[in-house]
Symmetry: D2
Subunit: 262 residues, 4 copies
């Protein structure tokens, strides 16, 4: 477990569409001068210092910036996307899934609920209710002893956010950490953990492109906590679970009593 002393290698992925689109580019440049990915990476650095090293990757890069080499050296991948889910290459999705099953942590953020990788890992539609108005959002902790909730106020107050509401079509989370309410009355399971294979997944919904939520220090704290929680103890040589032919039994000589076994 000495690996706990090495910095966690995080790759912050962003489709980088709003930032570069004609419609949203100007507003995004003001809100997120370094892009959403830049803001997330900066927040992690501010919170975790030398416990983390970050790089960013975007959709427009070759293999979306997620080559085998990059993923091999990634302990935790964060995923932000909204408008361009379909443009993500299936081979890259498969590769990310394999890495998650092998132990790489994955943080899926906000509208990433509809990404190919999240839907594939969940097995459900991942649909939800939404409203883009000026709702206030409160983020309540329902697992106060969970590492991801450490040092987080109860509730986190976000003045303006897109509403995400139930029913959110996901498997029951392994751990439910946060619930959000909105001034319109809706509720959302906004902080959920899932284990898949050897990997840990955290979905966290606050973070619309129209609001500067990733500058919010409490949100940054949640993401930093989640990175630490999701990082695998094993830093190299991780492998996905596979089919095993156990030819040699352990209890050699076991001879079930035919009279009892009927």
């Amino acid at each position: 477990m000495g690996s706990m002393d090495e910095p966690i290698r995080v790759t912050v992925w962003n489709e980088n569409f709003h930032e570069t689109s004609e419609r949203d580019g100007a507003a995004m440049a003001e809100r997120y001068p370094e892009g959403i990915h830049g803001a997330i990476a900066r927040g992690l650095g501010d919170q975790l210092g030398d416990r983390v090293v970050t790089r960013t990757a975007t959709l427009d890069q070759p293999e979306h910036g997620l080559t085998e080499e990059v993923l091999e050296q990634t302990d935790v991948l964060t995923w932000w996307a909204h408008m361009r889910h379909d443009a993500v290459d299936d081979a890259v999705v498969q590769r990310v899934q394999d890495r998650v099953l092998s132990g790489m942590g994955l943080l899926v953020l906000h509208s990433g609920h509809f990404s190919k990788i999240f839907k594939r890992l969940m097995g459900t539609s991942c649909s939800l209710a939404w409203r883009s108005a000026d709702d206030a959002e409160l983020v309540w902790t329902v697992a106060p002893g969970h590492p991801i909730a450490e040092g987080v106020p109860h509730p986190i107050r976000i003045p303006e956010q897109e509403m995400y509401g139930e029913y959110f079509d996901i498997p029951a989370p392994d751990e439910l950490v946060f619930l959000s309410t909105f001034s319109g009355g809706e509720v959302f399971r906004s902080g959920c953990t899932f284990r898949r294979g050897r990997g840990r997944i955290f979905y966290f919904s606050p973070g619309d492109q129209d609001f500067g939520v990733y500058h919010h220090p409490d949100i940054q704290r949640v993401l930093a906590n989640a990175v630490r929680w999701a990082a695998p103890e094993q830093r190299s040589g991780r492998e996905a679970p596979g089919l095993v032919n156990r030819k040699v039994p352990d209890f050699v000589g076991a001879t079930p009593n035919a009279e009892v076994a009927r």
Copy 2:
């Protein structure tokens, strides 16, 4: 499984304090002429007809109306209490716990979260946040395929209710069925299932004595669904799990290979 055709025997328990107190008696007589227990029993009958037979029991009866004989003939027990938790005899609490572990269903309602029986079955403080004002409550379904949510609107709207909010100090429920929001912004895990021993437990929070919530048809539907869900298949001779000395192994002759086992 032929027992599914027999009616479910429900005992509706109420501390019956507000109904008989000087302070609240008059208002309760108007709101719940038959007491909270009478209203709950009536609602179950209205929803389930001859699928259910109900009786009521109250704190002031000998052994609180929960003798061995009554519990033996009870498939599902519902529990409403608020002011008189401490007056419940520990021997009765122990008896109810034993019956739950043996398979009897248990519905714990509203302020019953602080009852001895619920705290004993949960192992936690069962504390929560609250506000007695004129909040509106919405009850959202987060497990749409669950039998307890069958035919229930999304959300249930309750015009006036006491606010119960997180953090609710319970073990993570086995299944989270409902989440409630309040107009003040709070959230509560308002419909939770727990399995303990052979028994099924459902906690459901809507139902303050100051509001006529148990006349609400959607609330009645939830309680009726929950009674059906919590009823054990086995209608008699139920026993709690106990210590078993398995002297005779199944795999007689099993001789672990000392060379492999190291």
Copy 3:
């Protein structure tokens, strides 16, 4: 909930490969004269009588026998497959997934763990350890109050079975009902429930083609219990969860009375 009185419509699906192959055909004809699907359907009828109506479907039929019409009229689908997973059309897999999310029950049996539909619903590799020898299998109940375990001995004894062992790469089941041990010393989570969308899924591992396990009355009992558990309350017009734009908030102008709050 009157629908509970109508018979459950079960479609028993089988790839029907071993039964029709040159290598295994003769032995299968002796072991399972009606095919594995025929044996499963017969067992359900024996256990449930007029509570169930069964039909069978096989890989070689048009659309594998799983047309929209058939699935619309199916409350629970059971899935047995082993050698021909890849031959299942992706469009049919998508259709089955949609119906499960809409509320259709699904029983995945034995080597069906590697089927496209199971892997898609789980999001993991679904790999495991195995050994085809003469292991005895014991099936232990770890959720004695679960409807699927009703009337099932503890343990079920299966004289000869293929060994399936951990690590089984699935999400943590919503409910773990059965654990199997093998005379070689291995263990397997052999009875697991999962909720996905509005649908209930049960995976049950006993049932290799080389042994007549589906004639075993305890195994038949488990399958019958599981069919009843997985059947949706809603018998028609089921729909999968979808994206909802909630334009109108519930709490417009919510003004909880801060003054009366005490």
Copy 4:
């Protein structure tokens, strides 16, 4: 989260009965010269070095060695007991429960399943099946990405152990980490996590007094991993969840703009 750099303060508790009894004393002195508590503490030190500081406490000490002061300075408490559960003072049990709900980690070992503190935290009978013979035990990992399983072989092989088998009457664990099989054919959920309040609990069954299991390096590894997993981030000033009267709502006059909702 700087606290992660401070050593974890572990108190290793033992009823210390077998060690001091006329019947078992001599054998125990050979098997565990420093007592079971001494062996556990030594194993933690060997595995974790200066990441941990241990002290021990035993039943015969004043307040069983578990004063308020000791518990205040304890991040993780381990509990071994077998013959003297009833001798533990209820006030101490209450104190330990409060500390767990406040965030102190708790490891319950082997026959500690029947301790007052474990039964109180679980709310069930905690009964099980057992056989004291010469079974071999295999400990299989079913959550390979869990920190408690890090670096642990699959399976752990224990040449001789008391058999503990299902049905184990506990709530469904929040996370099932290990399953044990025995050469007689039984199975046991031998490594289980539970969150209660702010605290993390791990039950781990290998460790009978008649076998030197706590000298087994793989068992020591599990305990060391569990100590790290159970340690709270917050090292002082921990408080149990309590009742909160939220007089002031958050959403006073909440008026989401219905017009801009699109």
